[in-house]
């Protein structure tokens, strides 16, 4: 179980996150929903250990992760722009995490094939990533994040860069993949429908802090303030 306790993050003089509290139970999918610039991406980076936490703590099953560097946290993060490695083909991207974990070549290619199957891209192993379409890039990025089977999967605007028609299709695919693996997931998005479709529970974020959390029905029934009601409307 992921725990975020009173976490604050500052870049120089500007505070980006202020006393954020959040938990994600095992097997649960939580969406952090908020307008752009509210600090959602920074929250994921802080959990991953990519940005230093000014105060508060990030825990897994109660253990503080402060001393654990990013690459040893066993978390997955899918980047908004996908961040596919341009010098590696699809298999080289999807298999990267497995290679880093020291899996044998045979093991890597077997699990790459499985991960590509999950996202419906079987046989794409040797494609150069530069030649993929936007939707294919999204799926490769998802497969790369899922392939090492991290204990927590974080998705930063997983469908943000795609056009509307593609989003509607991929939102269903993405949910199916996440549910089938029973992963513990934290999703960040500015899109209410996307948050509702992908998650069990949502947390609303504004100006670097969580305003309210609960299921969509709960939030709609009892919005904490005007802003929450307007934002969900």
């Amino acid at each position: 179980m992921l725990g975020v306790h009173d976490v604050s993050v500052a870049f120089g003089a500007t505070t980006v996150l202020r006393s954020v509290n959040l938990t994600v139970a095992d097997g649960e999918t939580v969406a952090v929903l908020g307008p752009s610039g509210s600090g959602k991406s920074t929250l994921l980076r802080a959990i991953a250990g990519l940005v230093p936490v000014a105060s508060g703590s990030v825990t897994w099953d109660g253990d503080d992760l402060a001393a654990i560097p990013t690459h040893l946290r066993d978390f997955g993060l899918m980047f908004q722009g996908y961040a596919l490695f341009p010098h590696r083909d699809v298999a080289g991207n999807v298999g990267f995490g497995l290679e880093m974990a020291g899996a044998s070549d045979g093991e890597v290619s077997k699990r790459v094939a499985t991960a590509l199957e999950w996202v419906g891209l079987s046989g794409f192993e040797e494609r150069p990533v530069a030649e993929l379409s936007g939707g294919e890039k999204q799926r490769v990025a998802l497969a790369r994040t899922l392939a090492p089977e991290p204990r927590l999967v974080m998705l930063d605007e997983p469908l943000g860069a795609l056009d509307r028609a593609l989003r509607e299709r991929l939102v269903i695919d993405t949910r199916r993949v996440l549910r089938a693996r029973e992963v513990t997931a934290l999703i960040v998005t500015h899109d209410r429908e996307e948050a509702a479709a992908l998650s069990d529970r949502m947390a609303l974020m504004r100006d670097g802090t969580i305003v309210q959390s609960g299921t969509l029905d709960e939030l709609l029934a009892q919005p904490a303030d005007e802003w929450v009601r307007d934002f969900l409307d």
Partner: protein, 516 residues
Amino acid sequence: MRSVRWGRLAVAAVPALFIGYFFLYPLTRILLLGLSEMSFGADSVEARLVRVGWFTLWQAAVSTLLTLVLAAPMTWAVSQFEFRGRRLATALVTVPFVLPTVVVGSAFVALGWSESVGAILAAHVFFNVAVVVRTVGTLWSRLDPDLHDAGRVLGASEWKVFRTITLPLLRPAIAAAASIVFLFTFTSFGVVLILGGFRYATLEVEIYRQAVTLFDIPLAATLAIIQLVGVTGALYAYTRYQERHASTWALRSDAARQQPVGPNRILVVLSVMFTLLMISIPIAVLVARSLRPGAYAGLFEDDRVVGVPISSAGNSLLFAVIASLIAVLIGVMAAAVITERGGRLSRWFDLTLMLPLGTSAVTIGFGFIVALDWPVDLRASFWLVPIAHALVAVPFVVRTTVPTLRSIPGETREAARVLGASPWRVWREIDLPIMSRAALVGAAFAFVVSLGEFGATAFVARPNTATMPVMIYRLLSRPGSGSLAMAMALSVVLLGLTALVVLWIDRLQFGEIGAF
């Protein structure tokens, strides 16, 4: 329309004749001479040639490798992080690159490192750090930082990310920088002549020695051919990597620098300090050693052998003015031809005009001595020095003006045409005003190049028209601590003049000094 065509032809003919007569023709004469009399003679000569060739090659390779390694921390710091003084630090690193080779040689003599391989390698690193910082740093600053972060999240340590992601993505820029540094160090003349003593000579130095000291012109020609082969190889590698460089995708259009946090703060400070120390120590020592009593006063006294040393400053300035004028005239005409839409000459011109930049300066000077006795004997002419300088400087003028000319939309010219301007008036009213600033920057570059030029000047300068670099070399090669201090003093004067012009270029707000 006929007069227009003749006008265009004239504009193309002037730079073509200039390059043809002062560059291609002498090069051909060297080739013919070297190939027809390619006899290595005695075994001892042959052994020396092999030794010189081998030394040229390995010192260039080691210099390149050392430069890459020692420039790495600075490249990382200024490309990845935003910090106070970053721009200043980057500008300071560029200073050695624009320094005359003779000044750099003197600086290392001042350090007491002469006649050693170590001094040569150190001077080469000093010179070329900027090439790596700028070439590799530009690409590195534009790599998407998410690629690094993605690697980290997927379980790669910092070192693994560097090896498996950053390094492969930077490879084209590293290769391009390496081939440029290799080219510069392979053709290194002034530094090696001053710091190598009699034991260490590159092909460039050996060509000079054979031709000027030992009068073995055919042997020098043979050496020049070997040299050309090496240069062509390095240039070929460079252009190939340049092309691949351009095809790298997944780059951001803007640099993505972040404030350094945690241990990176200390590492950035250390990297910058290390590099700035590395480049400022030789200059500081040079200045300190020049402050010996009487050194500067001595520059104004008549010497039986070298004359009044400071008079070389007058010669240098006069030559620099003439060379800049010639370079701007030729360069602007060439740029007009290169940028003319659909012009068949365009590409050919572009390539040919770049050649003098790649060819060694010594080969250019040597070519003048070998070839310019026809149709009239120009070899003792006053004009040889400024023409040689202009030849080396033309590429700089072309490189600064062509992009500006290309940036003028075709419609601007068409609008002027429709409004009744003749082709000449279009050029006069549109092209000329727009590119005049670029041409001015090109002229300033030409001025700096002329001030510092040594390789070609060493061949063609007459005793009474010595330039500052030639005078510094003469003072350095004389025994006695008095002339050594005077050499340092004159080096400081040349350093100051160069710095003034470079600062002025910077004031023109044209930024990027030494962008390749």
